[in-house]
Symmetry: C2
Amino acid sequence: MKRYERLADQLSGLIKRGDLPPGARIPSVRAACKAWGVSPSTVFRAYYLLENRGMIKARARSGYFVSSASRELPRQSPETSLGTDPKTVNISDLVFEVLKTIRQPQTVPLGSAFMSPMLFPMARVGKSCATANRSTDLATMVDSLPPGHEDLRKLISLRYLMAGMTVPVDEIIITSGTLEALTLGAQLLADPGDVIAIEKPTFYAALQAIERLRLNVVQIPVDPVEGHDLDALARALQQLPVRACWFMTTFHNPTGVTLRDSRKQALVDLLARHDVPLIEDDVYNELHFGPDPVRPAKFFDRNGLVIHCGSFAKCLAPGYRIGWAAAGRFAGGLERAKWMSTLSASVPAQRAIADYLRHGGYERFLHKLRRELAHQQSQMLEAISRYFPANTTATRSDGGYFTWVALPDHIDSLQFFQAALSSGISVAPGPIFSADGAFRHRVRLNYGYPWSAQFDKAAATLGALCADESRCGAKLAGPVRPA
Amino acid sequence: MKRYERLADQLSGLIKRGDLPPGARIPSVRAACKAWGVSPSTVFRAYYLLENRGMIKARARSGYFVSSASRELPRQSPETSLGTDPKTVNISDLVFEVLKTIRQPQTVPLGSAFMSPMLFPMARVGKSCATANRSTDLATMVDSLPPGHEDLRKLISLRYLMAGMTVPVDEIIITSGTLEALTLGAQLLADPGDVIAIEKPTFYAALQAIERLRLNVVQIPVDPVEGHDLDALARALQQLPVRACWFMTTFHNPTGVTLRDSRKQALVDLLARHDVPLIEDDVYNELHFGPDPVRPAKFFDRNGLVIHCGSFAKCLAPGYRIGWAAAGRFAGGLERAKWMSTLSASVPAQRAIADYLRHGGYERFLHKLRRELAHQQSQMLEAISRYFPANTTATRSDGGYFTWVALPDHIDSLQFFQAALSSGISVAPGPIFSADGAFRHRVRLNYGYPWSAQFDKAAATLGALCADESRCGAKLAGPVRPA
């Protein structure tokens, strides 16, 4: 743990215990340097972190104050399922029912998997698209065949380098969105009927892809605070012929949790001992609220066993469908698989993103986006804290735009989903996030939209629904879809 | 058969029999009208057809003359394999070896699957890309999710209408290239281990996709003149649990053959009796040399059993990776499958093509392209006729840009491929076009490039290689890759 993180934790403890109550002034940077014997830069970073966590707020020309929303929501209890029983996956019908709701433009999109399109520099990327595709460039047409546009691959390699990682250009394969990178990886490593290890809960698109590939899964619990249960994974690796893991170790969807560096290292070591590859879904990596990049599991890989899958869809240009895999020792196989699935990714989109990365001001944009998302998280958690029953819990993340909410036990989240929808609000109900319809009291809420009166009102409506047992009560719930 | 086609056939007969020898003048339009009792427009269309077939040539202000390349190459004999023995597919290694050659910029690309990028209106499509993506348009981002960009789908539906077909917009799903449409169709209709019917020969990308999907195949012979062997298909349907057909009935790759309308009708009827869907790969449809569009099998479908897969990659914008499926009764399933594979096709590319179709002058471009390709076919066949051994045969197509060449029996096409490559020329060897390494004396040649001295020289080199048994002899051939 770095010095500024230790300092932030100390302050965080003071705030949580009430030693620094809401509204209290936080020591000035000068006073803090003196009090804790650290540099101004350390204090600044610690305060930045606390601000991003929504625990303190800056007031112009007055310094920092403890935020009114600083009451931490209760920690969620770890899942108990050990998950060493391979399952087939059959989740799509339910997922599609939920997905339909995102096309209804009048619905408040708390259930959406997408961030507000307003937050992206679409006009600037569009300009890059125009610039980069105005002329005929025959060489680029061929250059963009798998493994993909060479300049773009070099720029991605450079971004890895800026995050402290050496990922050779040769390892990088551009794909038609990250979902393609992930599924090609799974398809390369496992045959139909084979077992792969996935998370529980996990992003439903992973479940759908696995259903389509007819793989079996063993579900590894992900605790909303601690992350992946490595003991459960170790047992699964011993007991089952696991062909690969498909994990999201940073800003996990839906919980928002990030596996600590030491545990990422342990995960990679464990997999290396069993020679099991990791397909790492890292699409939210750029959306960190803290000042420093978060290291993916790939950082700790010395054996080429990690296929690191990244995206521009979540942090720059949704709809362009440009993702990539840094595929380690599987680069050759993945490149072939790419040829055989959709040939190349769209050339104008590859060119546009390469042009934007060179000339668009990506760092400046990301800096702004990260602050906005951190701020939106604070507002979402504040609203949950205000409107939802006291025994509600919600996760606070260091990046991304999801919070995983545990509703009171008497609420059935599928009923809640239906009731919310008839009030014009979408939520993502817990049961779509696992292969066995678990998480019946949980929902994932999206704070990827600028907070507004409409969102505040939606949060209030959801809170009120929790009190309405006649509409959301668990006793009324129909049978869980068989897994 | 239409009147102008009958007239063209009559003239063609006269030319083939030598009644009208090379250099002879063809009757003027006025004389022809009188002689055959037809309208000037019929004569004009017949002459246009013959010109596209390379049999006659116009000279400015002098009328039409029999072309010097009018010697028809001998007809190829039908394949005899009955193909009712399901096989697994394992062709990729060989295909990738061949594909590598297209990346070598110095190689004369007679083995390429692509047309010359110079022939496409890339600058104009780039302009559409710029125009359509300059501004932020949030609605389009959501609109472009499966089934895809609504305006583009309407424009595709309109093109069907112009070709005399009613295909509702609801049936059309935009995909990341046509290969995705085809593979999603196959994946939807058949599970791993199931049997689907494919062509022999067939496009190797289909074989690779099928290998990836772990399907078994029954191979239906495609005669280079008559097209698909419907008797063999009927037997296969009786004897095997065929889940779907994957056929290209128009400008077939590699043979160039088009199934006649009456036989397309018979194919569709046969499949309807067995309730077996047809995945129709129709990517060359727009590249017809005659004046009228060619009807796909989809035209004859009354049961929603045909998934018609189209493309803009072969006729407008390679690299944009925009294809589609008009999926009949499978539209719902295919839309879901698209969600689960690569989510949406690239939005800027969808927008660009929609803009081009509205404003770019597509018809004018296609008209020019079709004439160029027809002309290039004549030049290619003329060169084969001039340089290759007399017992060489090559197919003449009514569209597309491939000819399927049967080399003399003493030539092994894999040896020929290697020898050609060391002379700086790529060819596509016959064995990559089937699941069992057949067609060892055949190669596919690409005439999708403007003819030039370089191509003429390459044809001469290939012709000379045929005489060089020490380098291309069948007796020297290694073992065929097991199927």
